[in-house]
Amino acid sequence: MLKVIEIEHLTVEYPGVKALDDVSFSVNEGDFLGIIGPNGAGKSTLFASMLGLNTKYKGTIKFFGKDIRKSREYLKLIGYVPQKPVFEKNFPATVNDVVNMGLRKKYHEKKIDEILQQLWIHELGNRRIGELSVGQQQRVFIAKALVNNPKLLILDEPVTGIDQHSIDLFYSILKDLNSKQKITIIWSSHDLDAVNKLANHVACLNRTLFFHGESDDFFDNDELVKQYSEASMQEHMHHH
């Protein structure tokens, strides 16, 4: 099985805090990995390191066997959907404009139409991005991430501001992308039930990796789930 990402002994230290401590795991082609962990567990740091936004890390990250420090070319094969799409509210860009930003080749109207249709935002093509609901915006950002046919899709799940309908739609889209289009997905989430339903692999992160394996092995093991819940609960209390 081809390894899309291999992470070995990844350690990230911020002044006074170890954000990630000796994290190692790999993701095979076609996997749907759900990364769970409480707030502050280092998920964003992990993503930032994988995406070349944080280069101050120890250890190695390989993409299809190549060290990502050597070249930024690998980014062209990754689609990334951020947790909070940050942009000027009145930015003069339509949905079509935003999706087109992701398109590395020449403007391809049919391609963009196709993806918008697939994500149920076809009728929004000429609306300004700032006018849409958060759930719709998220789908636009997925469309932007998909427009170059990426091998790997990395998604940081938005926590707030999305209605249930959009969440359901979002999940069914992810499922299709993985099962029908064979796109490898790494997805961070707070929603254990959803991870249980969608992902075939689970990684539990809380600065260190304390579980990585098939999702059935995780969810069938009450002890692990309890441990995870307690850890995230503690973290939760710690934050308040």
Binding site: Y80, V86, N126
Partner: protein, 271 residues
């Protein structure tokens, strides 16, 4: 107003250069406005005043020294902002005042100039020569081609720097290129509206166009249209009534802005 004025060479040059500058400022300015760099043009323009004074003192064509000084200060301001964590508006303020200060000191040392410094402060579009016009057209052409070729990179890194980086765009290079082009644009535009009113050309047509709720290309076209209208009508009206073109152009531009706000508040135009 008779059509005769269009037959004057100086008027033809003024209109052609004016339209080119209007287009240039709209396009470059839109990226600056969207990056919350609205006053950046002002800062470069003020620092180029120092460059103009330097050129006048050294007996060099003042716009050449202005190009040099403004490009250097544009790079310095970006460096300071990135490296030393000084906020954008503060570094703009530093550059803006020091540029004028340098100019004043140099003028003082040289015991004042015989050349009319006012033409640089407020523009002198009706005095634009043939070589100036060619220079303006050439520069406009080059910058527009660069923006067209790198359109996606400019737009994406303006929209969201982090995501642009993740998609493999060299955001830092794009930022420097934009700053560099802004520097060139500002000095070129000094001939039209002068040092003091340049940010009006960068900002007002774009802020107005953004309010119409359209996509990026249509917003750019609207902004160009507002800008060209203000410049052409401004030059003609100021000539006929013998008033300053720079002031007239900026006031017309402000007029369109106010009308747009008016239309919006009445509710004809949705947000």
């Amino acid at each position: 107003m008779s059509l005769e004025i269009f037959s004057f060479g100086f008027m033809q040059r003024a209109l052609i250069s004016g339209i080119a500058i209007a287009i240039l400022c709209s396009v470059v300015g839109l990226f600056l406005v969207l990056r919350r760099y609205s006053l950046f043009g002002d800062a470069i323009a003020h620092s180029s005043f120092g460059g103009i004074a330097l050129g006048l003192m050294a007996g060099v064509y003042p716009l050449w020294t202005a190009y040099g000084v403004s490009l250097v200060s544009a790079l310095i301001i970006t460096r300071i902002k990135d490296r030393f964590n000084v906020s954008g508006d503060a570094s703009v303020a530093v550059l803006l005042s020091s540029g004028i200060a340098v100019g004043l000191v140099i003028i003082g040392i040289s015991g004042g100039f015989t050349v009319d410094i006012f033409s640089f402060l407020f523009g002198s579009i009706l005095l634009v020569g043939v070589s100036d016009t060619i220079m303006i057209l050439g520069l406009t052409g080059i910058i527009l081609i660069v923006i067209l070729v790198l359109y996606r990179q400019f737009l994406y890194s303006t929209f969201n720097e982090e995501q642009a980086k993740v998609s493999g765009i060299s955001v830092e290079k794009i930022n420097y290129l934009l700053i560099f082009m802004a520097g060139l644009t500002v000095v070129t535009s000094i001939q039209l509206v002068g040092v003091l009113l340049i940010s009006a050309l960068f900002v007002i047509p774009n802020v107005t166009a953004i309010m119409y709720g359209k996509g990026f290309k249509q917003t750019t076209i609207l902004s160009m249209a507002f800008s060209i209208f203000s410049v052409v009508v401004g030059i003609l009206v100021s000539y006929v009534f013998d008033i300053t073109p720079a002031g007239t152009i900026v006031l017309l531009s402000t007029g369109i802005f106010v009308c747009t706000i008016g239309i919006k508040s009445v509710g004809i135009l949705k947000t």
